[in-house]
């Protein structure tokens, strides 16, 4: 889906847990997520701490969308 949307010219960032899968399939901008059942969260933390984690990942996502790239890039 990431590639199909990007084909229309819209920048897409893929927040996903298993980065190698995203790379193989061909996403260009990738941000690693926390875990499969909670990509933008962490049930072992408090709700407030989770929001901080979520914010961190989303900030990285916006950074990825602003960054010019020539090839597939993982934004750690």
């Amino acid at each position: 889906m990431v590639k199909a949307i990007e084909s229309t010219g819209i920048a897409v960032v893929h927040i996903c847990t298993i980065v190698p899968i995203s790379q193989t399939v061909g996403a260009n901008r990738i941000v690693p997520a926390v875990a499969i059942p909670y990509p933008l969260g962490d049930p072992s933390k408090s709700r407030e701490e989770e929001k901080v984690i979520r914010r961190g990942i989303l900030e990285k996502a916006l950074e990825a969308l602003k960054t010019p790239i020539r090839e597939q890039t993982v934004f750690n």
Partner: protein, 232 residues
Amino acid sequence: MYPENPGVDMYRKGIYIVETSDSARGIKDAVPAMAKLIMKSLRGELLGSPADEGYIERGVRVNRFNDRIGAARAVDMLVKKLKGEEFRTEYPMPVFDRVPPAEPIKDMKNAVIALVTSGGIVPKGNPDHIEASSASKYGTYSIAGVQSADEVAYATAHGGYDPTYANTDPNRVLPIDVLREMEKEGEFKKLYDYFFTTVGNGTPVANAKKFGSEIGARLKKDGVDAVILTST
């Protein structure tokens, strides 16, 4: 049939299709190949693998024992690969195409961002019945005025991961709450009024491509500048 003949995809599971060339010039090879298969069938003989018998893979899995365990065969294959020697994969990997990276956002403060997910977050009750696996559709839902993907209004329909955490707090997969905070703080101009969701569990690639194309076309029409796509 020639492998690219649309009839192959339509009928491969139900019948044996002999692989041929793409024109009648190949008929002198096609007919004996077909005759061989037919004679075997008429004699009631069991047909072997596609490679051995000359028919197109039907996508049917047949269990059989190998004389060596998988680990040993895998290590052998790896050693050959490392040495640069020829090896034959037991399972051909699909080839994925590449899309050139889209231009980055130059003015994030004025950008409209849309949220898409393959994590299956849907309005509670899954009104459009998006399947837990092999999704045949995606949903488009309004989030105008919605400040958080709370557990009262949303849940996950995805059958491929433990849903407990996503159901307790769907923002863990569809991060509306924090995106709204970032929107209020002016990090970007606006969170698009709709989110798109499907279940990325055993989703046929062709379907995923179709969903992405349709979603992309709509977002382009509505002037969306970028997409955040979350996956589990």
